[in-house]
Amino acid sequence: MRVGPGAYLLLSAILFAIGVAGVLIRRNAIVVFMCIELMLNAVNLSFITFAKTNGSLDGQVLAFFVMVVAAAEVVVGLGILVAIFRKRSSTSVDDVNLLKG
C-alpha cells in the first residue's frame, strides 16, 4: 500500500486537534504549554508534506524556523510559569483568575 501525502496531512490535522483538545482540557499550565508545542509541531508535519508535494524547499525552511520559534517560546513560557509558581506554588491555570470581568 502506498502512503500518499493525504495520510500525512490527516495525521498532522489529528495531532493539531489533539493539541487543541489538550489546551482546552488540561489544567496544568506546563501540560497546556506542551500541547501548544504539539500543535506547532503538527503544523511542521504539514509544512514538510506540502514541501514534498509542491517540490519546493520553502516548507522545510519554514519548519526550521518554527522549531526555533518553538524553542524560544519554551524559554519565555517556562520563565513566566516558574515565576508564577514561585508566588503561588500552583501551576493550575484555573487558579490564575484574579483579573476578570
Partner: protein, 506 residues
C-alpha cells in the same frame, strides 16, 4: 531527484542583500543588542542612561526611515517590501516607541522606593519594535510569522516584568493564548502554502486567480490566517485576553501594547488581506465585517460596565479595533480604506497612549498598589481629579473626547475617514452599526470626565502622596496631547501621507 541533493551539485545563486531596505530595522536590532550588553556589563546603569540610549536608537531608526522615505521596492526576493504602508507604519511605530520609552523611563517608583521593573525592559522594547516594523514590511508569510513571534515573545516578557501577581497572571494569559493563536496562524500559513505552492504574498496573489489551485484548502488557510491576525488586534471573539492583560500589566507596557501592536497588526492585516488576498474579497469580507460588528458592539457594551479605567481602556481599544476592521473590510475594493485605516492607527495610537499616561500619573497619587490587581486605576481614584490636578484632568479630557470622536480633535477625523471608506465600499450597514457603537461609547468616555470634574474626591485629600517628579512622563503627556489636538486641527498633511500608502506592494 531530491531538491536538496540537486543543490549540492550546482553553485547556489547568492541572494542579494539589500542593506538599505532594512536599515531602520537593523538600527533597532543593533540598538537592542547594545542595550543588552550595557545591561549585562553595567547592571547599575540608571534608567535615564538606558532610556537615553533607547531614544538614540529610535532616533537613528527614524533618521534611516526618513532617508528611505522615497524608496519603493521589493527586497530580499520578495520577503520584504517597501511601500506606503511600510514607511507610514515605521514612522508611527517609532513615534509610539519613543513615547513608550518615556513612560517606561518614568517607571513606577515613588520617592524613596526602589523601582520594581528590571532594566531589560528597554532592550525588550526595542526588540518588540523591531518585530513590529518588520511585520509591517513583511511580504512573505515566513517573515510575517517570524516578525510576529519576535514582537510577541518580547511582549510576553514585558507584560510580566514586575513581581506583582497581577502582572505575572497577565503575562501567563497573554503567553498561553498568544502561543495558542499563533499555532492557528501557522496552520493557516501551512494551508496557504499547500494550496498555492508559495509563502510569498505576490505569488499567493497570483495563485488566487488561478483556477487550478485548491480553493477549499486556500479558503481554510485564509480563515486561519484571519484568526491569527484578529487575535493580535484583539477582535471579538478573540479579544478575551485583552482586558485581563492590559489591567494586570504595568501601565507603560499596556500603553505600548494597545498602540503599537494594533499598528503593526493592522498593517499586516491590510497587506495580506487587502493586498495579497484581494482576489478573494467576496469570500473573506463577510468574515471581517461580522467580526467588526461583534467587536464594535461587544467592546462598547462591556466598556460601559467597567469600574477600572485601565480595563475600560482595554474594552475601548477592542471597539476601536472594530472601527479599524471596517476600514480593512473596505480596503480590498476601495483604496481609501487603506489610507483611512492607516490614518486611524496614527491618531488612535497617540490618543490611547495619552490616556494610559494619565493613568500612570494618577496611579502614583494613591496608596501603594495592591499586589493582586496591579496598578491602581479604579475610577474611584479619579473623583475630583480636576480639583486636585487640573492639568492631568485637562489632558484626560482631551484624550477622552478624542477617543469619543468629538469634532475638533483627531479621533473625529479618524472615524470620519474610515466611515466614508466604508460607505464608498457599499458597507453602509456596517457604518450604521459603527455610528451606533460610537454613540454607546460616548457614554463611558464622558463618564470618566464626569467623575473627574463633577465628583468630590473621596477620603482625606491630605493622605494623598505626592506624585514625585515626573519629567519624562510630563514630556510624553505634553507630546501626546499636542499631537492629538494638532492632528485634529490640521489633519490634511497626514491624510495626504496616508494616501500614498494606498498602493500595496505584495
Amino acid at each position: 531527484m531530491h531538491p536538496l541533493a540537486q543543490a549540492t551539485t550546482q553553485p547556489l545563486p547568492l541572494p542579494e542583500v539589500d542593506w538599505r531596505a532594512i536599515a531602520p530595522e537593523l538600527a533597532l536590532a543593533v540598538a537592542g543588542v547594545v542595550l543588552l550588553l550595557v545591561v549585562a556589563f553595567w547592571p547599575r546603569a540608571g534608567r535615564g542612561v538606558l532610556a537615553g540610549l533607547t531614544l538614540a536608537g529610535l532616533a537613528a531608526a527614524a533618521a534611516l526611515t526618513v532617508w528611505n522615505w522615497d524608496l519603493e521596492r521589493v527586497a530580499f526576493e520578495g520577503a520584504v517590501s517597501l511601500d506606503g504602508i511600510t514607511r507610514y507604519a515605521r514612522a508611527v511605530l517609532l513615534a509610539v516607541g519613543a513615547l513608550a520609552t518615556l513612560m517606561v523611563a518614568q517607571g513606577d517608583s515613588r520617592e524613596g522606593e526602589p523601582d520594581d521593573s528590571p532594566p531589560e525592559v528597554f532592550p525588550l522594547l526595542l526588540f518588540a519594535l523591531l518585530g513590529m516594523v518588520l511585520l509591517a514590511a513583511a511580504s512573505d508569510l515566513l517573515v510575517v510569522f517570524i516578525a510576529l513571534e519576535i514582537l510577541s515573545l518580547s511582549l510576553y516578557v514585558m507584560a510580566g516584568e514586575t513581581r506583582r501577581l497581577a502582572a505575572q497572571e497577565a503575562a501567563m494569559k497573554y503567553f498561553l493564548l498568544g502561543a495558542f493563536s499563533s499555532a492557528f496562524l501557522l496552520y493557516g500559513i501551512a494551508l496557504c502554502y499547500g494550496a498555492t505552492g508559495s509563502t510569498n504574498l505576490l505569488e499567493i496573489a497570483d495563485a488566487t486567480g488561478d483556477p487550478t489551485a485548491d480553493g477549499t484548502l486556500l479558503l481554510a488557510g485564509v480563515g486561519l490566517l484571519a484568526v491569527g491576525f484578529l487575535f493580535k488586534v484583539s477582535a471579538v471573539p478573540f479579544h478575551m485576553w485583552t482586558p485581563d492583560v492590559y489591567q494586570g500589566t504595568p501601565t507603560p507596557v499596556a500603553a505600548f501594547m494597545a498602540a503599537a501592536t494594533k499598528v503593526a497588526g493592522f498593517a499586516v492585516f491590510l497587506r495580506v488581506f487587502a493586498g495579497a488576498l484581494g482576489g478573494l474579497v467576496v469570500s473573506w469580507r463577510p468574515v471581517i465585517a461580522g467580526a467588526a460588528v461583534l467587536t464594535m458592539l461587544v467592546g462598547a457594551a462591556l466598556a460601559v460596565v467597567q469600574t477600572d479605567l485601565k480595563r475600560m481602556l482595554a474594552y475601548s481599544s477592542i471597539s476601536h479595533a472594530g472601527y479599524l476592521l471596517v476600514g480593512v473590510a473596505a480596503a480590498a475594493t476601495v483604496p481609501a480604506g487603506v489610507s483611512a485605516s492607516m490614518f486611524y492607527l496614527l491618531t488612535y495610537a497617540f490618543m490611547v497612549m495619552g490616556a494610559f499616561m494619565v493613568v500612570q500619573y494618577v496611579s502614583r497619587l494613591g496608596p501603594p498598589d495592591d499586589d493582586a490587581i496591579g496598578e491602581r486605576s479604579s475610577l474611584e481614584d479619579y473623583r475630583g481629579l480636576a480639583r486636585r490636578h487640573p492639568w492631568a484632568a485637562g489632558l484626560l479630557a482631551v484624550f477622552m473626547l478624542a477617543l469619543t470622536g468629538i469634532p475638533p480633535l483627531s479621533g473625529f477625523w479618524a472615524k470620519y475617514y474610515v466611515f466614508l471608506a466604508g460607505i464608498e465600499a457599499g458597507l453602509t450597514w456596517l457604518v450604521v452599526v459603527a455610528v451606533i457603537s460610537s454613540v454607546i461609547s460616548a457614554f463611558f468616555y464622558l463618564r470618566v470626565l464626569v467623575v473627574a470634574y463633577l465628583q468630590e474626591p473621596v477620603g482625606d485629600p491630605g493622605a494623598e502622596t505626592a506624585p514625585g517628579r515626573t519629567p519624562a512622563l510630563g514630556v510624553a503627556l505634553g507630546l501626546a496631547g499636542l499631537l492629538t489636538v494638532a492632528i485634529g486641527l490640521a489633519p490634511e498633511a497626514l491624510i495626504a501621507a496616508a494616501r500614498s500608502a494606498e498602493r500595496i506592494l505584495g
